[in-house]
């Protein structure tokens, strides 16, 4: 058990970071039936904005400003690239999303010159700590708690506030929601604002663990968060969070499998399982789609009694 602990810890942590991105995918899908391919890139931009801001301002300004700018970006993308296509076929919006994704990647490539940008050191949260004899960073420990807390707040908003009720209504029936006087565009914007906010928080936690950012840094975490959302049942927030934790933990365990098996004496030399950790995520996607296309908590038909 002791040998597994560091991998589980880091798995839970990375899972929490995926969860924060996955919520953005799942909420937007829930309302617009759109897979927002640009979401991973918004996550990356949050990281870059932080790099630039932290170079010139103290962290207590840089972090909130990063979050604000990311939220503004998410809001603008929806207004410019998706809103005009509200009545267009779903495929057109999807293609627009792919376009936005590449636009962002290429713009950042132009701005950064494709060079690796070093992520700023955030003092307190990247400090080393020891827990049950395992050394790790504080961010590893904070992430799952912060993720779960933010999710609980979000679920509360959705179930107990007026805007949350409007979101649930709009996600089921645009037209009837309008007949209630709900401005669907405001509700959709609110969804993008929440999704981008969580992605920005996730990006601060995620990139702290990595040396730097390049324009494609958002693709892999974005894709994995998307898989997590599908795994949990796209459209379901608890599903996305649980899916993300499962993927994070599995991925981390696979990365550590060589070390674990060698130290346990199961294998004489490392096999190279770590290479397959990304592949695992996508194999999982295929397996889910084959055996449970609606995911763990996917939308059920309500039966009449």
């Amino acid at each position: 058990m002791k040998i597994l602990l560091p991998y589980i810890l880091s798995g839970v942590s990375v899972g929490g970071q995926y969860a924060l991105i996955a919520i953005g995918y799942t909420m937007v899908y829930g309302i617009l039936r759109l897979i927002n391919f640009a979401h991973g890139d918004v996550f990356m931009v949050a990281g870059l904005v932080m790099v630039y801001l932290a170079a010139s301002t103290p962290l207590y300004i840089a972090i909130p400003a990063t979050i604000l700018i990311t939220v503004a970006l998410g809001f603008t993308i929806e207004r410019v690239a998706y809103k005009p296509l509200r009545t267009a076929p779903r495929m057109s919006v999807m293609i627009s999303a792919i376009g936005v994704s590449y636009l962002i990647q290429n713009l950042t490539l132009y701005i950064t010159g494709g060079l690796n940008k070093n992520y700023p050191e955030i003092p307190w949260i990247s400090d080393k700590i020891t827990i049950f004899g395992t050394t790790t960073t504080r961010v590893t420990l904070i992430t799952p708690f912060l993720t779960v807390a933010l999710c609980l707040i979000l679920v509360w908003i959705i179930n107990h506030t007026k805007i949350g009720m409007a979101m649930r209504a709009v996600s089921k029936d645009f037209e009837t929601s309008q007949l209630m006087g709900i401005r669907i565009n405001s509700v959709i914007s609110a969804t993008f604002v929440i999704g981008s906010f969580l992605a920005a928080v996730g990006s601060v936690l995620f990139f702290t663990n990595y040396p730097g950012i390049v324009p494609t840094s958002g693709s892999m975490p974005g894709l994995k968060a998307f898989v997590a959302a599908v795994f949990g049942g796209i459209g379901s927030i608890p599903g996305a969070v649980i899916g993300a934790f499962i993927i994070g933990i599995c991925e981390s365990l696979i990365k550590g499998l060589d070390t674990i098996l060698v130290t346990q004496g199961v294998m004489a030399s490392p096999f190279g399982f770590a290479t397959f950790s990304d592949a695992f995520t996508f194999v999982l996607l295929i397996v889910i789609l084959v055996f449970k296309p609606t995911g763990l908590f996917g939308e059920k038909q309500t039966d009449k009694v």
Binding site: A166, K172, E175, T176, Q178, L179, M180
Partner: protein
């Protein structure tokens, strides 16, 4: 008073409404009857702002409604219970009523109005915490009407409230329409069930392929031979 003048609506390349004019006087029950595809629903949907008009005008207490956003039409006192009920299946009965009051901010009065709707439809009170998707068809129709009432409309538009319901349930719904009307709500009713609709209506219009072909009081149309043959299934 709602006044429609020379309203033309094109819908998916078809002339859904061809220059229709009609009046819905305050405090009356007005019904639109006609066959499938005659343009009844389109008329209601255009009034509520869901469908754009090609030309003509719709005035509500002398205010032009065409071009106004849907939420401002709702807040001006027009509510609609759409065809097929369209309750929010995974919201509870109570939440469905609350969302009907979405644009209102008078919290205390909203609570009173919920009780008022429950007094009109006692069945809904029993089902308060149940998801609307689990209600029976009749209960869903009651909920759709109750939800529309929660915006405190002066004009209530009902699109085929009898659709797919048992005759006894239909009678209940029509009783409530009368009660509401007596409480001062103007009702614009679209119905395939011409017999029921004409009996209750002060004023009725017959729509045929996008044009109004007949109009008069409910009683007049009930005895009109053309109406009898086409919509009441009675041979002279």
């Amino acid at each position: 008073m709602l006044r429609i003048k020379d309203l033309t609506v094109n819908y998916g390349g078809i002339n859904a409404l061809r220059s229709i004019s009609l009046d819905v006087p305050d405090g009356k029950i007005v019904t639109l009857i006609g066959a499938n595809g005659a343009g009844k629903s389109t008329t209601l949907r255009t009034i509520s702002g869901l469908v754009k008009a090609a030309s003509g005008s719709i005035t509500w207490n002398d205010q032009e409604l065409i071009g106004k956003p849907i939420d401002s039409i709702v807040s001006s006192g027009i509510a609609m219970a759409p065809e097929g009920r369209r309750v929010f299946a995974d919201l509870t009965t109570l939440e469905n009523l609350r969302i009907g009051a979405y644009l209102r901010t008078d919290k205390d009065q909203i609570e009173k109005d919920i009780e008022w709707v429950y007094s009109l439809f006692p069945r809904l009170k029993e089902r308060s915490w149940q998801y609307a998707g689990t209600l029976s068809g009749g209960e869903q129709q009651m909920l759709a009407v109750g939800r529309a009432l929660m915006s405190k409309p002066k004009l209530l538009m009902l699109d085929e409230p009898s659709l797919g319901l048992a005759p006894l349930v239909v009678q209940d719904i029509f009783k409530i329409i009368r009660v509401l009307n007596e409480q001062g709500v103007t009702v614009l009713l679209v119905e395939q069930n011409a017999n029921m609709a004409l009996k209750i209506a002060d004023l009725a219009y017959v729509l045929e392929t996008g044009s109004i072909t007949l109009s008069g009081s409910g009683e007049e149309l009930l005895t009109n031979p053309q109406v009898k043959e086409a919509y009441l299934g009675k041979k002279n």
